[in-house]
């Protein structure tokens, strides 16, 4: 047994991970979630803003990380719609534009169809422009310099929502949904820090630990990975009972495979160390 474990083919570990993730998804069991401080701060900021405030949401991710950032995108957009905030969307990722279109369709056009939110009045999709952080630096001073028109090529001056917005400093809040570079760090460096614009981000797990030093000085809070999304959904459910339904909460659902996946990794670390120490005890190299 010991020798089998010592020379264990890694494909058995792969199979274990596949089962640890797949079975909870098939079982569809959920666990309770409690919003933590940073998530609560973001939620409270959006909640406290007066109805109709202007929020920019940058979708700096693409399908590669939709598994992590998709659920929080839905939750944040839901909250903005519930509060009737005005939304400006953009992306610094070249493959991020269709993700914005999908979010608009699923949340604004389908889920909140009864609100009849109108493009140009209630939300504007600015789309993508190449240039990464340079775009943030430019729109920090002049939005039209980088985005003369919206995604459907209508001049910003002709849209009720954007005609009075000169630059980022006219916004009430910036939210970034970020999968890396360019993302939350660049928004802190080129928008939140120099202009003091209220800023919060939803970030992938890989990037989350690096964001903590910016809180609370330069960032209001973060939604870290799918756990952050689940916590935000829980916060939304606390305030708006309709959103306690697990069917509406993708983040909370995804915490079940997360639970078993983490336990498997912990088990593997323990097992690996047991083999290591047993080896040392036996004196084998």
């Amino acid at each position: 047994m010991f020798d089998f474990l010592k020379t264990l083919d890694r494909r058995w570990i792969f199979l274990a991970m596949l089962l640890a993730v797949s079975l909870p998804i098939l079982a569809q069991k959920t666990f309770p979630e409690q919003p933590t401080l940073h998530v609560r701060n973001v939620f409270q900021k959006i909640e406290d803003l007066p109805e109709g405030s202007t929020i920019m949401i940058s979708f700096d991710y693409d399908p590669g990380t939709t598994g992590e950032l998709g659920p929080m995108t839905t939750a944040l957009l839901r909250h903005c719609c519930l509060k009737r905030h005005k939304m400006l969307f953009l992306t610094l990722f070249e493959t991020g534009s269709p993700v914005i279109d999908q979010a608009i369709k699923e949340v604004i056009e389908d889920e909140f169809a009864e609100l009849e939110l109108k493009s140009g009045e209630d939300y504007v999709n600015l789309g993508f422009k190449p240039g990464r952080e340079v775009i943030i630096a430019v729109i920090g001073l002049n939005l039209r310099q980088a985005f003369p028109s919206d995604h459907s090529r209508t001049n910003l001056d002709d849209l009720p929502l954007t005609k009075n917005i000169v630059n980022l400093q006219d916004l009430d809040l910036i939210l970034d949904l970020s999968a890396g570079y360019p993302g939350w760090k660049e928004w802190v460096q080129y928008a939140a820090s120099p202009y003091g614009i209220p800023f919060a981000a939803g970030v992938t797990a890989v990037g989350a630990p690096q964001a903590y030093p910016y809180i609370p000085g330069q960032m209001l809070g973060i939604l870290a990975a799918v756990k952050g999304a689940a916590e935000y959904e829980a916060a939304l459910g606390e305030k708006y009972p309709k959103y306690r339904d697990p069917k509406l909460n993708e983040g909370i659902r995804r915490m079940a495979p997360q639970f078993w996946g983490h336990l498997l990794v912990i088990g593997l670390i323990v097992l690996g160390n047991c083999i290591h120490f047993a080896d040392r005890w036996r004196g084998t190299p």
Binding site: L8, R10, I13, F14, A16, M17, L18, V21, F31, P32, Q34, T36, L37, D62, P63, G64, T65, T66, G67, E94, T95, S97, P98, D101, K105, K129, P130, G131, V134, I135, A137, V138, L141, N142, Q145, A146, H151, S152, T154, P194, P209, Q210, Y212, P213, A225, K227, Q258, F259, G261, H262, L263, L264, V265, I266, L268, I269, L271, G272, N273, H276
Partner: protein, 232 residues
């Protein structure tokens, strides 16, 4: 001259960016340079695509190993390029019903849209997902408590892994609320807010100084390595 003029261009654009931070009158120039940069970034995309095309075409014509896969890459490249440039399947938008060129090439139902959602999306997302398997294998093979430092790392990872799921909350659910800092979620919060923040902040300060020094070297012409090896 071959490296002096590029350096002067780099210095001019760089100092315009710096000046815009301090002098409002220079902010318009920052916008212009930023727009030029954006256009250059688009040309860089074209350059990247053309390079990929030339590389795979060369591989096919030389019948080098794996040339068949290069053929597949080229077909995928050309189909996506044609679909996007010709806006295949894009209807004219409502405001300009006679002008299909005014439509968005990513319009739902267009060929580009289909390629994005049914080819790019699943392949990209699954490539990222593969790492879940490798990280679990690495946890088993490489994560050893060999010394104090490795043990600190390991214990931290343990606490955070537990604290970021319901497992942690459940295991320490009997801890009184006054001592919530001793629960797994509580310990995770402390680790992130203190240990992790301190370490990340020190790394960030070091990187910031490094970036500033490198940028200065570039702008002052001390470092011209980005221009390649053959100088004036």
């Amino acid at each position: 001259m071959k490296s002096t003029i590029p350096w002067l261009i780099a210095a001019a654009t760089g100092f315009v960016m710096i000046a815009a931070y301090f002098i409002p009158a220079a902010q318009g120039w920052q916008g212009e340079v930023g727009t030029w940069f954006e256009i250059l970034a688009a040309f860089a995309f074209v350059l990247g695509g053309a390079n990929l095309f030339a590389y795979h075409l060369g591989k096919i014509s030389a019948r080098r190993a794996g040339w068949g896969y290069s053929g597949v890459t080229l077909v995928a490249f050309l189909v996506t390029l044609a679909a996007g440039m010709l806006k295949l399947g894009v209807p004219a938008p409502d405001r300009y019903p006679t002008n299909a060129w005014a439509g968005d090439f990513q319009f739902e139902g267009s060929v580009s849209w289909w390629l994005y959602w049914y080819l790019y999306n699943p392949l990209n997302a699954t490539m990222f997902a593969l790492l879940a398997f490798y990280v679990s294998s690495a946890a088993f093979r490489a994560f050893r408590a060999k010394n104090t430092e490795a043990t600190v790392l390991l214990v931290t990872a343990f606490i955070v892994l537990l604290g970021r799921t319901y497992a942690g909350a459940w295991l320490t659910s009997s801890v009184p609320e006054n001592y919530s800092a001793l629960t797994f979620p509580g310990m995770t919060a402390i680790i992130l807010a203190v240990g992790n923040t301190a370490g990340q902040r020190a790394i960030m300060i070091g990187i910031a100084l490094g970036v500033a020094a490198t940028s200065l070297k570039v702008l002052l012409g001390v470092d011209r390595s980005y221009l390649g090896s053959d100088g004036d």
